[in-house]
Amino acid sequence: MSIELSGIHKQYAMGSEALHILRGVDLRLESGEFAALMGPSGSGKSTLLNIIGLLDWPSRGAYRLEGQDVSHLNLVQRARARNLHIGYVYQNFNLIPRLSVLENVMTPLMYRGMAPPERREQAAHVLERVGMADRVSHLPSQLSGGQQQRVAIARALVGGAGVLLADEPTGNLDTRTGLQIMAMFEELHAEGKTVLLVTHDLEIARHAARTLTIRDGRIRADSPVPNRRKALEVLRDLPTEEEAEEVAS
């Protein structure tokens, strides 16, 4: 799915002053692209991601998703579009704590009105894909961070979304686990999903095909990544924990 933003502004009224966070963002992501969005803290990366994810409204500007103008969708239409086309992955996973892994993954399908047996089947299928098939009845609190993030990715995928938006998905994970998650994003990109990844980590950004840098409310740099990192290769070369311990001692 392609994403096309032109002249996107976002401002917040803070008392009498206007806080101008986005000041005319122009951005085009082709269907199947894998881009990393970087920028200083507070530069509006999450804000932009929320606008793309149809959770937030721009103050001004046009947004076309797969060629369709989505700026004028109403609340219900936006909810439907989110449910069908957008998958989110957050730094803090954002799983519903009282629901099991399987139920968490089934939730988007429930809001789509799918019948329970189908939901279950489809959710079990994606969980198997992310390697969590043996944890379906666990609660999120019974999982490690990396496992929770896999479940979150499964939830983002289960509805067949064309766009994956990830806001610092490896921010809470150690290097190895982070790389495993990145391997998944690479795989999903290879399958043709459009992936937009917010990160502070230059190394993580190098997994994408393209990096975008936002500063002072605009995209200031937009360049292809010359020699992309491949998560599986990096993982292979990463010292194992025992080796790391030896080096340390």
């Binding site: 937030d56 909810a79 989110r82 449910n83 989110y88 519903i96 704590p97 009282r98 429930m110 809001y111």
Partner: protein, 407 residues
Amino acid sequence: MNFLDYLQIALRAIRSNPLRSALTALGVVIGVASVVALVALGQGAGVQIARQIQGLGTNLIIIATQIPPNGGTQNPNNLGGPPQLFPDDADILKDGLEGTGAVVVPVMTAQTPIKIGSKVTSANVVGTWPVYAQVRGLQISNGRFLREGGEDAPSNEVVLGSDAAYRLFGRLDPVGRTVFIKDFLYKVVGVVAPKGYEGFQNVDQNVYLTMVTTEAQVLISDVVNYIYVQAPSAEALPQLEQTITKLLAEAHSITDPEQYDFSVRSQSALLNTARGTLNIITTLLSGIALVSLLVGGIGIMNIMLVSVTERTREVGIRVALGALPRDIVIQFITEALILSSLGGLLGILGGIAVARVISTFAGWETVISASVVGIAFFFSLAVGVFFGWYPAFLAARLDPIKALRYE
């Protein structure tokens, strides 16, 4: 998203904090239980009173005193004090109603000890005329009732109610034996078959003496509590009431109907008055109980508000995943509804149980009507929707972006 999905989400939330949910529902339980129990008692009392009033006998007119606006000092027989009826009034009515087929019976009552040897029990002495047995439909199980013609001088005959007889003589036949009432010796001539409660009095504890005897040897005064007049037919009642009123007004020298110091009421009028009063009391009490239901509802609202705050982030996640505001509203209202309807069901059971216990231990009659149960349940549902709506509305209005950042 179907009904079962909403139900499942709500049940999950309720089960995640069972104690809190139970305490929240308890507010509704208490409210509903008190409504059900109070109405059951009220309706039971209604049935009981109706039966008792009807049990007085058919086509009965009851004459009692009432305090008129001016205090009632015109009655020449009454030397000051509150309005009273006297044996003379009964005689006047008896003479005045001669030939109408009506039967007049005055009644004096007194609580006094009655004893044989060292055995003492308390008895309700009923001083009356022998026609009492006929008017009130007393069944004599043993011996006979007081004798006709014994109305002018004290007699030493007494008739015992079944309880009074049992307490004094156990299984022995009391007829022919003697008892002491206030130092006078009486011979038992008969025992009345068990009849049970009438009003709040167990008439089986009654002890019957002639009115003259009661006046001279028990009460030492000549105050009549009521005069019963039995009409020959229901059609004769209105005319008879008028005649009685006229006779008593003349006897008491009262011309202004506003100032009558006596009341003349038929049994059906009495029934209506009693029912009316009882309905007012029942309604009032249920109203108070409804207030407690309201308090239960506020408890639900309070907990729902807490629940929404606690689950702010969950709401954000659900909205991000495609939940509509409607889905969020239904989710939280369902939760409130489950709490309140659970409270309602338990409250109905509790109310029925309380009513049962009261009727077992206090001996009061209770009536559980389907309509009251239905209304109580409906009210508990209404409480859930009413008090669940606002928290649900707040949840649906949450900004998903802020909700997702909420810690």
